[in-house]
Symmetry: C2
């Protein structure tokens, strides 16, 4: 058997048929990003790697407006930074106010508790955001929490939290602010320094349209200062160690996922070539609007509270009697991979991801098919 046959065998496993991806992530990557993934490897202790790491870090810092905060790249999924935030910047046994608007807020609670800290929970109904006055009230009731966690964009419900306002409230109470921006960074604006975010993290495989395997974050000086007095931070997610390697050699303590870093660099340069952050975010905003309009034109309802729609994923209520999973399966048969409903609203929702490499023509095709599928399922 030769190499081409082996490649075809494996391709048949992962791509048995062509699918247009409207997933919650990993998302379809831009063609140039996929080309960049196949660059030959090299040592992460070489000066070439240092140049790559430095350039990528600086470009990302500019994109998320982190001049004071330190941008870190780590070999992990986004959840790695969730764990890092708690192990580095919350005292063992200490309290964290975890705001929950869906499945990923709930994950933060699990991370807090499984690392021996206590979670105080502010939970909203699925589809609703956290409002600044609610956070203020919760912090007044719980003045002893050390930090607040916020899901910027909740992938399970399609809700974008009002992050700048929430961060402002948390800062008024002098709390550290940890932000899960996994499905937000790259599509929803982030101004790390101005908004006072202490740790805001994301993953490569979402709005930047890079394959999975890399997590990125901006970390404030306050987190590093606090970490100095936190015992048992561990090795793998020790943020002080990451900072040391960054300052010493523009690298990471253990081997980084070089292909994904190269790919992210290509995306950040593409953004620059497109005209910068605003042009890129506008592209996402237009795409999200086109998708929401498509949903409404079919007579379907959006799940999220108006005014808090996600720029990266739209959650749709199914018509009475139609199951979300049936819409998913029927669309798959027609060559479209949307995302199933998730968590408690799984049964009667489905999700349309907007991230990565998606053309307007594909969106139009999606809705043409979705219309037929919904009609079929209603008649059953």
């Amino acid at each position: 058997m030769n190499c081409d046959e082996i490649l075809r065998e494996v391709e048949n496993i992962v791509w048995p048929k062509k699918l247009k991806l409207f997933t919650a992530g990993p998302v379809a990557c831009f063609p140039e990003v996929l080309k960049a993934m196949s660059f030959q490897m090299f040592s992460h202790r070489s000066k070439e790697y240092q140049a790559l790491h430095r350039d990528t870090t600086l470009r990302l810092a500019e994109f998320i407006e982190a001049k004071k905060a330190t941008v870190l790249l780590i070999p992990a999924s986004g959840t790695g930074f969730m764990e890092a935030s708690i192990r580095n910047a919350v005292t063992p046994g200490g309290k964290v106010l975890v705001t929950i608007i869906g499945a990923f807020g709930n994950r933060y609670r699990e991370v807090v508790e499984s690392n021996g800290r206590k979670a105080v929970v502010l939970e909203k109904k699925p589809g609703e955001p956290v409002l600044p006055e609610e956070l203020d009230e919760a912090l007044k009731k719980n003045p002893d929490v050390e930090a607040v966690t916020i899901t910027y964009n909740e992938t399970s419900t399609g809700v974008l939290n009002p992050l700048p306002e929430l961060a402002k409230v948390a800062k008024e109470h002098d709390k550290l602010v940890f932000v899960d921006a996994v499905s937000a960074m790259g599509a929803a604006d982030i101004k790390v320094d101005e908004w006072g975010l202490d740790l805001v993290f994301a993953s490569s495989q979402k709005a930047f349209g890079v394959p999975p395997g890399l997590a990125m974050a901006a970390v404030s000086e306050a987190v590093f200062e606090k970490a100095k007095n936190i015992p048992n931070r561990g090795w793998y997610f020790d943020l002080l160690k990451y900072k040391k390697y960054l300052e010493k050699q523009w690298s990471t303590p253990s081997t980084p996922p070089i292909p994904q870093i190269i790919a992210l660099n290509v995306v950040l340069r593409t953004i620059e070539a497109m005209g910068g952050k605003k042009a890129w975010l506008d592209m996402y905003a237009r795409r999200a609007e086109r998708i929401r309009k498509g949903v409404l034109d079919l007579g379907l309802e959006l799940f999220a509270t108006p005014g808090y729609y996600s720029p990266t994923i739209t959650v749709v209520k199914t018509p009475p009697g139609v199951k979300g999973v049936d819409v998913y399966n029927k669309m798959r048969e027609r060559g479209f991979e949307i995302a199933k409903g998730y968590g408690p609203v799984k049964e009667y929702t489905f999700r349309i991801g907007h991230m990565g490499y998606i053309t307007d023509e594909e969106i139009d095709e999606l809705f043409k098919n979705l219309k037929e599928v919904i009609e079929e399922l209603k008649q059953k």
Copy 2:
């Protein structure tokens, strides 16, 4: 600026000139592996991903002879599993016997201590392996340790520890055996069940010749059983959570590095097509011998104790008056990226990695140039 220009810009950062790689890792990847890295992405909750994960896991389990143990793939570098072994299977405050024969044994000590456990150290001089009778003696003196850590192949000194014999001793003392096989798996034989290894882990970017970003391990039932009673295991490296996701859906709790898993699958199929594990390990053994012979033919000395030579990296003593880093720099000027000396022996050694995509012709060219470089440097 178009996409091709952007790709060329980035390529100029990471590959400003062509280099033949004899690195300690990441290593040069086989051409078919690089092609596999550029497959389009897809959801890790799809049935296609499940098929990929299952197939890769089963092939790796066969390669390392893990029928009883569970093979896990995680989004991390190898060190992630180092941390996982301690957090999941050693009681907080409990003791671990850490055997150290170089820099990576020392890393295991750091991981133990930074996670709030106590390290009892058995340390050998650089270049020497741990001998079974030494381990036996250390365990007699420290009957209260819960586990023993062993670096199978020490990348900093080029020494392969006698793993089966060491594991046998540890098992006679009824201890858990954790093995750092990062630079061994794929080139040195591993028989997980037969040797009684409780957690043996590696990284994608070493002897399998896949880009970095993926860690693989086999984990024994004893580790999972012990984990059930260990508090504060955390979320990201909670091995019980990984096991649950594997059993429930052939996937991982958070998003896996799909390109590296595809690439590993391609390598495992290539190994099968070559005739299986023995043929692949023989290729590495022949390559290692060719490189050691090349070193000796130049009148240079090997750093490792005879009988314990690494199959993946050869550490070479420089002649009197010649610095390791000068050899590295001169070879780089000639288009060869070897590895600098590492740790306490950095000054008067250099290292030649044998892993990944290297042809016999490149090895011959390496030594032709190395000969000239050594002569130049001696005359200085």
